[in-house]
Symmetry: none
């Protein structure tokens, strides 16, 4: 049992080191050696926990689920949709596992059979909020909920990618706020827009 505790620690160390390396280099350019080194673990240990490089990448992509589950009670559904994206935006600035997960999802096709599930997860999550919002009368009459959810998820992905090159993701929340500002008139009922908080951070400041 003491054994197992160590094993858990080892596994975690590997996962985090791998996340760091995958995030920086991408799947193909990441090397097991660098991961070993950063995790302070030997080859044998790593291959006991993860039989192949691909398995390691898979484990990291799976971690993504954890992030999609956050929820904030009693807010308006539309605000919750916004909050979800801003929450993720902020996590992306520091959390290596999430960063790696997203990068790996994007690169998927190059090292494994592409799996839409990863995108679908976020699209559904967002769509659920938008459906609630429609029932709550927060949406503009003609809004296409399915299209909007998909568009926002795609847009988020790209903006975050671009911002990484442009500002190393320093102002990602602001960029996401811009996205919502541009999109809300086409999505939300006009009278609800003023109440929505697009960026909690700048709010606090």
């Amino acid at each position: 049992l003491a054994q197992q505790e160590r094993a858990v620690r080892t596994r975690k160390a590997i996962l985090q080191a791998a996340a760091r390396v995958f995030d920086q280099r991408g799947y193909a350019a990441a090397t097991m050696s660098e991961i070993l080194e950063q995790a302070q673990v030997t080859k044998g240990a790593l291959y006991f926990h993860f039989p192949t490089k691909e398995a390691l990448a898979g484990a990291i992509m799976a971690e993504q689920q954890r992030f999609a589950e956050s929820r904030w009670p009693e807010k308006s559904p539309l605000q919750q949709a916004i909050n979800l994206t801003q929450h993720v935006a902020r996590l992306l600035q520091h959390d290596y596992v999430l960063r790696a997960a997203i990068r790996l999802v994007i690169e998927q096709g190059s090292f494994a059979v592409p799996n839409p599930a990863a995108y679908a997860l976020w699209i559904q999550r967002l769509r659920a909020f938008l459906d609630e919002a429609r029932e709550a009368g927060e949406l503009r009459p003609g809004a296409d909920v399915a299209a909007a959810a998909e568009t926002v998820v795609g847009a988020f992905t790209g903006i975050q990618l671009m911002d990484q090159v442009l500002t190393d993701r320093h102002d990602l929340p602001a960029k996401i706020a811009n996205l919502w500002r541009l999109v809300l008139p086409g999505l939300a009922a006009a009278d609800r827009i003023p109440d929505l908080v697009l960026d909690e951070e700048s709010q606090a400041a």
Copy 2:
């Protein structure tokens, strides 16, 4: 001089083969051997034209410029902005060089010093149209042109990426039309929106 013509052909063959491979595999997983094979060219020929793998990637990224220059006369500036994105969307479905260029720009950071210029090129192009649109009174009063240009470029990048996994880019033009549909209410003067053609293709159909 006849010689040089052959050289030009060789260079082109290499560039296209490289584009195909980079597009499919990404920079790191692409191998010079596969490029050689697809280009039907020998190692010596390749390394005469491009001293390193990185140089080859650079040359492909540079080709991007060519695509950004298209222009359609006499249309409204806003329509031109839309057309630009739709033009690129359609090219992306078939043109390997453009596909590779975009993929390489995204992956940049992993094999070279990240260079914002590539994004900046498209942002400026789009912004120029929006500025014209403002002067032509096509924009909604409060619209932030700079933010919109950046947002649209980022969004386009991500949507195209997502659509590659979801539908192998089969309905990319439709997805881009969705983007504009969602965004135009926040950007354009309300009375101009009905006149804009979001997707020429479906129009033709």
Copy 3:
């Protein structure tokens, strides 16, 4: 631990194969592939023990130390100096590691920062004998011990090199005897010279 015994064997096999190849081809023209082949070892094994070609060369040069330590009791110091050179001369005819070590030391400057230590080792060793000889009254009054040690080491290096081309080192001991014959009148007390054995081998014959 049983494993480690195999590792020791592997390492030795590599070192000896490398010595053979370095001796024959020189550093630059030696290829890792030929070393692998001669050592009957795979690349993985080799690169586990020696991370680079340079490291392998370094390890061989280090082996040199071992050879400089031989000593023969109760003889006159001058005789010991002679014996040292003749011992090395004879080893050079058959011991690949020593041969390679010397060749690599000579070529040093072309693949690493030149390191005088290798020469210094032999110069000091010889000089120690000469110092003892002086105290034992074996030297000619005006003899410059420092210069002589250096000169003899340099001369030995060159003669061995030349003899390799001329006779494949078959008569190296005789050539070294010639060196001493020429040099002793300028170095040793005249009455001691007749007692010195310049070449044990021809003696035995």
Copy 4:
């Protein structure tokens, strides 16, 4: 004819560039590209004058002959032998072609069939002086002229090599003077030694 003049210049430029590169890197590590670059000549030009790398090395080794021919009138033969070595020693400090020639001769065996002629040239030259010296009564009675000539050439080779690592050949003439100082008592008639100048340079100072 103007053509031919240019050809001569080109050939010379190649030879000197090659000398520089061979001297620094040795035969195997020298590359035709670096030679091309330093000679400011194109591939075609080089391969017109020298069909292979080996031919180029051969041409440089042949240049050596030129250096062995120097002669100084009216001096004692023994002094001329000394002067020859000192002359070469000083040339070695600056003349790339001579340096390269000697290095290539030493490395010969690795890229061509070893050819004793290169050593023989110098040995004979030196021996001729010593034979004259014997007739002039300058030698010690029992001196073995053949052995001495060979020994000195070998010694010179080694000392120059060692001094390159130790002092980048800065004090090579002094080292060669040391060699003669050590060797003369075994070679020359005792009463002639004081008149010999071992190192003109230090003499001048």
